[in-house]
Amino acid sequence: MGLRADMHEHALDNIKFIRSTMENATAFTALPGYGMAVVGLSALVAAWLSGRTQTDEGWLAVWTAEGMAAILLGFLAMIFKAGQSGMSLLSQPARRFALGFAPPLLAGAALTAAAARVNHYGEVPGMWLLLYGAGVSTGGTFSVKAVPIMGLCFMALGAIALFLPYEFRNLILGLGFGGFHLGFGLWIARKHGG
């Protein structure tokens, strides 16, 4: 009876090891590179559109819509790539990414609402880039090296944006959310299978 239980435990241990190794390997590649590049393209469109708005409220509406579209596009791309590799979106690496990524984003949403309430938009682009970068860096700690590096690039750009004149806001957001997503997305797609 003891031997039977031990053989069962040994086989179970092996399967757990296989599963966790596969999950860790998937964390390296589950990030949708092409999806990220599409998000970058949508951000470039948003940067162009927001440059044509006349009011701060209109500018904020364009970027809020872009944020929602980006989240939706990113989520769909993750589902697609996870499906291709046969992994669940509820796997441990995916949960770990979400837990690291979501809090700075939620903080950004609350701070944006507070800034909009008092019509204070000057630091909003820098704050978005900083918080988004923080989320990408912490969420992507266990992913391919490109991900935390991308997070740090966002944070650096965010820090610079805080000290740039207000007129540069669309350029800096286009460079960050557009350029970085496009560049890093294509890099990840080329090196990590899509």
Partner: protein, 112 residues
């Protein structure tokens, strides 16, 4: 512990296990490559937390058996080595996982 050792010794011949994959490090390499199309030497080292020497030795054994294929290339000026699971390796891995699952079902301790 002695009982556990006996169990491990009994499993292998009883299930006709593929010894090449049954070894922990090689099982890790094959599992990681089963989940990902291609991984570089550096990525495998990081995922499995292995030393260069340890990974090289075990990857070579899998390569010699035709379970993994190796591609060497340059990224800029830096040489890179990428590994992929071959069709033979994938089949062997699936067979191993099926063996383990069958064992789990067959050896499930009975309720008292």
């Amino acid at each position: 512990m002695a009982v556990r050792g006996n169990a491990v010794r009994m499993i292998e011949p009883a299930m006709n296990l593929d010894q090449l994959i049954h070894e922990r490090v090689r099982l890790g390499i094959v599992s990681a490559l089963a989940a990902s199309k291609s991984l570089t030497f550096g990525e495998l080292k990081e995922i499995l937390e292995l030393t260069d020497g340890n990974l090289s030795i075990h990857a070579r054994k899998l390569e010699d058996a035709g379970y993994v294929s190796v591609r060497k290339y340059f990224e800029g000026r830096r040489p890179q080595t990428a590994y992929e699971l071959t069709a033979v390796g994938r089949k062997a891995f699936e067979k191993y996982v099926n063996h383990m699952e069958a064992l789990i079902r067959a050896m499930k301790p009975k309720e008292k």
